[in-house]
């Protein structure tokens, strides 16, 4: 579903991603772990189409699309969704209205009829309950004054309403209480369908224990230096990243091969 080949990305004059390869087949959930500053958010942002990154080499194929040639809204319409590491506050734009506008923008992009306010309300109420977000947050401005956890729950709510084909979660689990963590895991597990996939960026094993990824990749210094099965997360917890650095010359080496 998603194939990234030899991706080099610069911010300013600094190369952040240095030949990154990653493939996520449909129906699978992949986790990406790595030390602070390794380039995880950079990868997520480049996939979602954020400005300020210069792709100097490499390709990203999503389904049949040349992803890097598309605008952010085209990527969203194609099914890409990024749950932000730092969700943005948007004063004056009510959360409910934002969510309906987003859903209807996707409907329009797909040539489907827009969803009316009352029908949307019913749909949103369901998802609000599912995600366990305080309904009062729906009439407030998007993320404005939300607590850290509320912002993350709001990302999951958007994920649940917009039903993307590829969900990219950038540390959505950070700062979440245990209940919310389960909500995230359930939300991602719901994507375990033949036409869906997820890329979950995390520092913590807790989330991976709940959602059990098909593959775990280790991103260090702008490249995937290790890939393995779910048990790689546990191994990383014991060894840390420092022990892995020596293996950079062999980016496809997999600890999970012992599985």
């Amino acid at each position: 579903m998603l194939v990234i080949e030899g991706l080099h990305v610069e911010v300013g004059r600094t190369e952040i991603l240095a030949g990154l390869d990653l493939a996520i087949p449909a129906g699978e959930i992949h986790a990406v772990m790595g030390p602070n500053g390794a380039g995880k958010s950079t990868l997520a942002n480049v996939l979602a189409g954020r400005d300020g990154y210069r792709v100097t080499a490499g390709r990203v194929k999503f389904l049949d699309h040349d992803l890097l040639a598309m605008s952010p809204e085209e990527r969203a319409a194609a099914g890409v969704f990024l749950a932000f590491q730092q969700p943005v506050e948007i004063p004056g734009v009510p959360n409910m209205y934002f969510l309906r506008t987003a859903l209807n923008s996707l409907q329009r992009a797909h040539g489907l009829a827009e969803i009316g306010p009352s029908e949307f309300l019913a749909l949103a109420q369901d998802k609000v309950r599912l995600v366990g977000i305080d309904p009062a947050l729906m009439s407030r401005s998007v993320n404005e004054g939300f607590s850290g956890g509320e912002k993350k729950r709001n990302e999951i709510l958007q994920l649940a309403v917009l039903e993307p084909r590829l969900a990219i979660l950038d540390e959505t689990d950070s700062g979440l209480d245990i209940d919310a963590l389960r909500v995230v895991a359930d939300g991602v597990n719901a994507l375990r369908r033949p036409d869906r996939a997820a890329l979950v960026i995390t520092h913590h094993r807790r989330l991976l224990d709940l959602l059990v990824p098909d593959r775990v990749h280790v991103l260090v210094g702008g490249r995937i230096i290790r890939s393995g099965g779910a048990e790689l997360a546990g191994e990383l917890e014991r060894t840390g990243y420092t022990g892995l650095r020596d293996d950079r010359r062999d980016p496809v080496a997999t600890i999970g091969a012992s599985r």
Binding site: P72, P87, I90, V93, A102
Partner: protein, 450 residues
């Protein structure tokens, strides 16, 4: 044309066309005297120049360079349908129409919303038939500037509204000022007086609209007098034509424990200056002054505000927001004076500007002058562009760039517009803002740096 020549031409025109303080037939003596003194003031002080603090950013030269002629009949007689097309449906209460400075019984509709205790008349009618009270409420002889005095010298008509003590006007009272031009350079000088007696309540919506084509100059003055405990919600929509010059003053005299809210919206005119001047003369009065202005194209919207706290325990809050597009020019010149007697004053002043183009121009000057202790006062100004992170966030959810920008612009305006009464008043505001932002080339089309 140098400004002196312009000024002489102007004075000449104004004299010739009957603006001179010669008495008008049937005019009460107090009014002749008031007009004469206004004219004297004007002759003495002359028109403002760029050297005047309050006119530093507003270009008057094009106004003074044109030979506007006062108090002419409108060159076209608009019909009710023409009015409806620009003014939209009634707000559910009386609609009083002032056509080129004169009350139009033909275009007005006073069948709705008139109840006991609410007195509504043309100003000319009130001068003719009303009691002596009008003389006191006409004005205090203090003029902000030459145009303010010019209005006092030239005005013959407008609207008079009086609310008896403890009266509540349920529906909004609407005053529509229609300026009609057809290449004849009209100078239009409407004057209205609103007197809210003790404990009365009303919502008053003043809308300035234009019809026809060519330059025009509207120079209006509205005086609002609030007795003890009166509450007035005052709206002012300025949506004049694309070549119009617009100068106006709303002057507020706030009595004890009265509450006055002014909410202004400027979308029209080529150059428009709307001044709000409020004096809090008795204890515990509350003032709320909000403004939203959206200069686009070559438009200039100037918002001078003067609040004088003259009694203890009064509150004033100002929130002015500008959305400046194309080569538009937005000006906020807010001045709060807290006098020696005004202990326990609370005064807040905020101005925020959103620049949607790199040709957009903005001048902002919040000022506080405090002459007493025990005052809680804040002021601040911020100028910014669309938040690119927010824009990306919206687009990443599938919302197209243009719509996403529109959402952010609307979000910026929200805290001002959310103060507008829900229903027809908010509806009118949304309609004016919507059509203004959609009009012209590339409504939201970004000149925003990416």
């Amino acid at each position: 044309m140098t400004s002196q020549v312009a000024e002489r031409t102007w004075q000449h025109n104004v004299h010739l066309s009957g603006g001179a303080p010669a008495e008008r037939p049937g005019e009460p003596a107090w009014l002749s005297a008031a007009r004469r003194s206004a004219f004297d003031w004007l002759s003495q002080h002359g028109f403002p120049t760029r050297k005047d603090e309050d006119w530093r950013y507003f270009d008057l030269a094009p106004v003074l360079g044109l030979a506007f002629s006062p108090n002419r009949e409108p060159s076209i007689e608009p019909r009710a349908a023409d009015l409806g097309a620009v003014a939209g449906p009634s707000l559910g209460g009386p609609r009083l129409v002032v056509l080129n400075g004169r009350y139009s019984p033909l275009l007005s509709d006073v069948t709705l919303g008139l109840g006991d205790g609410l007195h509504v008349a043309s100003l000319a009618g009130e001068i003719r038939d009303g009691g002596p009270g009008l003389a006191q409420r006409w004005g205090d002889g203090a003029y902000s500037h030459a145009f303010d005095a010019l209005n006092a010298a030239l005005a013959v008509d407008g609207v008079y509204i009086e609310l008896a003590p403890q009266t509540t006007a349920d529906a909004a009272i609407e005053i529509v000022y229609l300026t009609v031009a057809a290449g004849d350079l009209p100078l239009v000088s409407p004057r209205s007086v609103i007197f809210a007696q003790a404990g009365s309540r009303a919502t008053i919506v003043e809308t300035h609209l234009g019809l026809g084509h060519g330059h025009s100059l509207t120079n209006s003055h509205t005086r609002v007098v609030l007795a003890a405990g009166a509450h007035v919600e005052h709206y002012r929509f300025q949506a004049e034509g694309p070549e119009a010059s617009h100068l106006s003053v709303v002057e507020v005299h706030a009595g004890e424990a009265s509450r006055f809210a002014s909410r202004t919206l400027a979308v029209g005119g080529l150059r428009a200056r709307h001044e709000v001047r409020a004096r809090l003369v008795a204890p515990s009065a509350e003032l709320r002054l909000d403004g939203l202005y959206l200069p686009a194209g070559e438009q200039c919207h100037d918002n001078p505000v003067l609040v004088e706290h003259l009694a203890p325990g009064c509150t004033s809050r100002q929130l002015y927001k500008g959305i400046v597009k194309d080569a538009g020019h937005g000006i906020f010149n807010g001045h709060v004076i807290v006098g020696a007697a005004a202990v326990g004053t609370e005064a807040h002043q905020t101005n925020k500007t959103l620049l949607l183009s790199d040709r957009a121009e903005v001048d902002t000057r919040p000022r506080l002058e405090i002459f007493t202790d025990e005052v809680a006062a804040t002021h601040g100004a911020a100028v910014g562009q669309l938040d690119q992170d927010a824009l990306f966030y919206l687009r990443s959810r599938g919302i197209p760039d243009r719509d996403a920008q529109a959402m952010l612009v609307a979000g910026f305006a929200a805290d001002v517009l959310d103060g507008f009464a829900p229903g027809p008043v908010r509806g009118l505001a949304d309609r004016l803002v919507g059509s203004h932002l959609e009009a012209g080339s590339g409504a939201y089309q970004p000149e925003v740096k990416r």
